[in-house]
Amino acid sequence: MLLNQFLLLAAVLFCIGVYGVLVRKNGMLVLMSVELILNAVNINLVAFGTLTDDVGGAVFALFTIAVAAAEVGIGLAIVLLMYRNRRSIDLSEADLLKG
């Protein structure tokens, strides 16, 4: 089986996701990048599950998808609230945690 290709794909997706999370200022795009990271993990889970003939991988992938859905829901709500309060979804402006 061509495990390497799957892993490479996942790695590429993960890196794109990380890049998005770290660099983009737009809250929506950051959320989408998080989805990319999660999906990279999902690909890994399914790929290894198939390799070892274990259904656990697929089960965990499904579990992740469910969690991701919830996370997107909350994330979107946060972004929406942020927009309402500040008329902007630029993350660089949200620095209330500054010490």
Partner: protein
């Protein structure tokens, strides 16, 4: 090794009983009464008609009577107590000791022989009764009393002098602002001192030792409004504390070293030492440390400086505490633990040791200092130091009985002198002999007589008290082998003998000077009303002191009469053997009675101390020396200075002493003086002048500057060191380190704050970076 064997050969014979006459077993009541009196005076004294004095006097009187009865019981006990009474197993234990040749065994054998053979001779058996006091480490420690000749003698001295001082004080400090407190502390002092002399263990001795010290502190500082008084009180307490370091270390050493260890019991410790069961090193350490304690408490060089300053206290206090009782606590302690010193200092067969030498130096050093004092109490204080030196020296040379006997006689005549000086000071309101006294003989003839008797006794004039005791000390130094000699003396302490002789001459001389300046010549006082002993001014007016001084009242005079009588007679309780032997009035019944009743010779807790044969030749020579000393002083003051002052029509204060006289002579009719007093000039100007002038002044200078200076310097540098440590180390280094650690975490927080941008993405980046590093580390670890 050898000592251990010997100890095994002689199974312990304890010459101690707990079954004796009622008064001997219950002597603890004697200190208890003044202690109760202290509490009563403290709480109720001010409300009493005589402001508490009556409570103190009653308690001390009862104690005195009890002390007398105890003494009588002891005399009976000493001569009639049957050893079998206290248990056969102890009495029989002296069996085959004679086989071995050690001192211990020989002594035990002698003891047996005395018992079995002579029949009439009774052993010296101390009475001890005790009860449990505390427990530690599973061992129980007792508190109790030990009654033997020594403690009975001290009971008598302390209660007797204390009673007289109580009576004397009702007049002397009458109307004082703290009259009640004064009597409270007198009671407490009496209780503490009695507690000290009765204690049957060294722990109690430490307790009593410190308690008398604190009473001394409180009474020296009685008039604490004036700073010099409180300074003197502090100096006394602190100097004594320095000596107490020695006391603590010495006593602790004994506690662990003696007889298998862990006992405070005086008799057990002494027995262990006598039987040779204690390591010599421990004894040397203990004896040396305890000598330091003696130096502070009993005013020996170089820790004596507090004692003259302690004269800042009221005069009755000086008489009771700083002459008769408290200052002899050190001497008593040595006498009580004598085996420790006997073995530790190796007194027997030697010719020098620490204790004796300290004593000898004190005798002469303090005697010289007494010459340059203008304050009558300071003369007496230095005299006390000097006499305590005699006692310490006597103990050091092995003359136990002589030392204790001198302690006994000294208590009476020195108390007499102090109270006499107080009587004079009471009249002129000053202690300054040169400025405010002189010619007092006319105003106070009765005080004069008692003072002269005291002076003669102190100077050792035959047949007054001081003669007998001083002579006994000198003969026991073993330094006199001429004509009858002193063969049986424990050692041959020639140096100490010479110092003792010089001391005798000095004593006679400075007392002559003191008597002259105070009582002879013309009255120089009356120009100022000093308020040196705490009288209120209305009191002065009532006494009418603005005119001439007058004789003191009966409450001051009667104690003086009684003490004078004792100063004359008390020496007869220990006449040397052979004295008046063969004459019709054979006082054999008085020969060596003191020795018989006081010295625990033949008891299990006392070493075999030899006694020198008394020597007529020595007695005569010593008397001549004293008379010579007195003669010189007499000539200088009574004849030369007296005539000079009359011829010049000036007060003798205006005539400078000693070498410096030369210049004045030149100015004020020198021809007459130079021609007439050529020899005088040689003797008084050069010899006596040198002694009184530069030499004594040098001694005084050393005393004031070097020794005292060192004490002050030590105090100052302790404060400076304290300041240094506090400011430089405590505040800067230790505290600084604490503050620094705080500041470091603060600063590092400041640095790390920059990372805390508040931007989620920065945090995420850090998290990823961290995760990446951890993952990397994980991979590397797996690879290994």
């Amino acid at each position: 090794m050898f000592a251990t064997l010997a100890a095994e050969a002689v199974s312990t014979v304890t010459t101690v009983t707990n079954d004796a006459a009622w008064f001997l077993e219950n002597a603890w009541i004697i200190p208890l009464l003044p202690a109760i009196s202290f509490a009563l005076i403290l709480f109720f004294g001010k409300r009493m008609p005589y402001k508490g004095a009556e409570i103190g006097i009653t308690a001390v009187s009862v104690s005195f009577i009890l002390a007398i009865l105890t003494g009588v019981a002891w005399l009976d006990h000493r001569d009639h107590f049957e050893l079998e009474k206290y248990g056969e197993e102890q009495a029989i234990a002296v069996s085959d000791g004679a086989a071995s040749a050690t001192d211990t065994v020989a002594y035990t054998a002698r003891f047996v022989a005395a018992e079995a053979g002579e029949g009439g001779a009774h052993p010296y058996v101390a009475v001890q009764s005790s009860t449990q006091w505390l427990q530690s480490g599973g061992i129980e420690f007792n508190a109790g009393i030990m009654v033997d000749g020594l403690s009975v003698m001290m009971l008598f001295v302390v209660t007797f002098i204390s009673l007289l001082v109580h009576v004397y004080s009702t007049d002397y400090v009458g109307g004082d602002r703290r009259y009640t407190h004064f009597f409270a502390f007198l009671s407490l002092f009496t209780a503490s001192m009695l507690f000290f002399v009765l204690s049957d263990n060294i722990l109690q001795m430490i307790v009593g030792w410190e308690l008398v010290g604190v009473c001394s502190f409180a009474l020296i500082g009685h008039w604490w409004e004036e700073k010099p008084n409180s300074d003197a009180a502090l100096k006394a307490f602190l100097t004594n504390r320095v000596g107490d370091v020695g006391l603590l270390v010495g006593m602790i050493t004994l506690f662990f070293a003696a007889g298998g260890g862990k006992t405070f019991d005086t008799i057990k410790i002494n027995e262990a030492v006598v039987q040779g069961g204690v390591s010599h090193t421990a004894l040397v350490v203990a004896a040396a440390c305890l000598t330091a304690a003696v130096m502070s408490k009993s005013g020996q060089f170089i820790l004596h400086t507090w004692l003259p300053d302690a004269m800042a206290g009221p005069t009755p206090v000086s008489a009771l505490i700083h002459a008769a009782t408290m200052v002899v606590a050190g001497i008593y302690m040595v006498a009580r633990l004598y085996p420790v010193f006997w073995e530790g200092m190796q007194i027997e067969g030697s010719s020098i040791n620490l204790l004796a030498t300290v004593g000898a130096i004190t005798v002469v050093g303090a005697g010289l200092l007494a010459f340059v004092q203008d304050d009558i109490k300071k003369v007496l204080a230095y005299s006390t130091v000097s006499q305590l030196g005699y006692m310490a020296m006597a103990l050091g040379v092995g003359a136990w009985t002589a030392a204790v006997f001198h302690l006994f006689t000294h208590a009476f005549f020195k108390a007499n002198l102090f109270l006499g000086s107080g009587s004079v000071a009471h009249a002129v309101h000053s202690f300054d002999m040169k400025k405010d006294m002189g010619g007092m003989r006319k105003f106070m003839p009765k005080t004069y007589v008692t003072f002269v008797i005291g002076s003669l006794a102190l100077a050792g004039v035959f047949p007054l008290a001081g003669f007998w005791s001083k002579d006994e000390i000198l003969v026991n130094t073993g330094g006199w082998d001429l004509l009858g000699g002193s063969g049986a003396a424990p050692g041959s302490y020639t140096f100490h003998f010479v110092m003792g002789m010089i001391g005798a001459a000095l004593t006679a001389a400075y007392m002559t000077r003191c008597v002259y300046l105070t009582f002879h010549g013309e009255y120089r006082g009356g120009h100022a009303a000093h308020d040196d002993h705490g009288h209120d001014h209305e009191e002065d007016a009532a006494h009418g002191h603005h005119g001439e001084p007058h004789e003191s009242g009966p409450r001051i005079l009667y104690p003086l009469y009684i003490l004078s009588a004792f100063s004359i007679l008390i020496g007869f309780v220990n006449l040397p053997p052979g004295f008046l032997a063969g004459s019709k009035k054979d006082p054999a019944g008085w020969q060596e009675r003191f020795l018989h009743f006081v010295e625990p010779a033949g008891s299990s807790y006392f070493p075999a101390v030899g006694h020198a044969t008394p020597s007529w030749s020595l007695a005569i020579v010593a008397s001549l020396v004293a008379v010579a000393g007195a003669g010189f002083a007499y000539y200088y003051y009574f004849i030369r200075l007296d005539r000079l002052s009359k011829q010049l029509g000036e007060s003798l204060v205006a005539i400078p002493n000693g070498i410096t006289t030369t210049n004045v002579f030149a100015r004020a009719g020198h021809t007459l003086l130079v021609n007439k007093y050529y020899f005088d000039h040689l003797y008084t100007g050069i010899i006596a002048g040198f002694t009184k002038g530069p030499l004594a002044r040098a001694a005084n200078w050393i005393n004031q500057n070097v020794i005292d200076g060192t004490v002050n310097k030590a105090g100052e540098s302790a404060v400076q060191a304290g300041q240094l440590v506090y400011h430089k180390i405590d505040q800067a280094v230790v505290d600084g380190a604490v503050n620094l650690s705080g500041r470091v975490s603060d600063a590092s927080g400041e640095e790390l704050r920059a990372i805390n941008s508040g931007k989620v993405q920065n945090y995420a980046a850090l998290m990823f970076a961290g995760a990446a590093v951890l993952a990397g580390a994980f991979v590397i670890l797996l690879a290994l």
